[in-house]
Symmetry: C2
DNA sequence: CAGAATCCTATACGATACTG
DNA sequence: CAGTATCGTATAGGATTCTG
């Protein structure tokens, strides 16, 4: 009750590391499992929320929304909503997000080659 | 007590996704926070355990060892130990690990540019 | 030197149900 | 259609101590 959060060494390592390691700077924004997968789906162009769900059928709605929000906060994804009566919301990459596509493409290439080689 | 693990839908999504999404195939091996950072440190060449610790001062030993083991299991890193009396252990990238370096380099490039742009 | 062991907490993730 | 809300579990990650 009275303990609010006096101590949070948790995540401090990550913040610190991000200061000097460029890769960890990226991992602070792309960490976890789903974010690169979502970004990968947006490379080809803007997608509606429902399209993203169909494109990634194994993700739960909670994860999709949650990570989309974080990606917006990190300025990697832009959300555009038009207030019509079935709501219409699209997500697309920001410039920073577009600049990140080589990362996902390098991943995809590796996956294709590595799968063959095994 | 009698419940052993009858149900593990957890991770099934990830396995399934890996089947059709190349990026998620990679995330199954590189998921989490530290693995890309470790691999990044090994790009320039083999390193001893203690060198890795110094190179990534914010990681705990547990995390370092644990992820090095998983990277070995995924055949991305090779461990070489010589049984001398202070033990001498080096880690280096396998060919599959080397093939992954464009991913980390793309991350590093993005980090450098994105930091400037903000 | 290179780790293993133990204990603990925070967060990521998932299932399900509900809503403007 | 595009979310929210709630609840539960599994895993990631960290602190500390010990060892061949």
């Amino acid at each position: 009750m009275t303990k609010i959060k006096e101590n949070s060494t948790r995540n401090e390592n990550k913040q610190l590391t991000a200061g000097w390691c460029p890769v960890s700077y990226v991992m602070n924004k792309l960490g976890g499992y789903w974010k690169p997968i979502i970004l990968f789906q947006l490379i080809e162009g803007p997608k509606r929320y429902s399209e993203l769900r169909k494109a990634i059928p194994t993700i739960t709605e909670k994860m999709l929304i949650q990570h989309l929000k974080q990606l917006q906060e990190d300025n990697l994804v832009l959300r555009t909503a038009t207030a019509v009566v079935p709501p219409h919301v699209t997500y697309k990459l920001t410039q920073a997000g577009i600049n990140l596509t080589p990362v996902m493409e390098a991943m995809a290439n590796w996956a294709i080659n590595n799968r063959e080689n095994n």
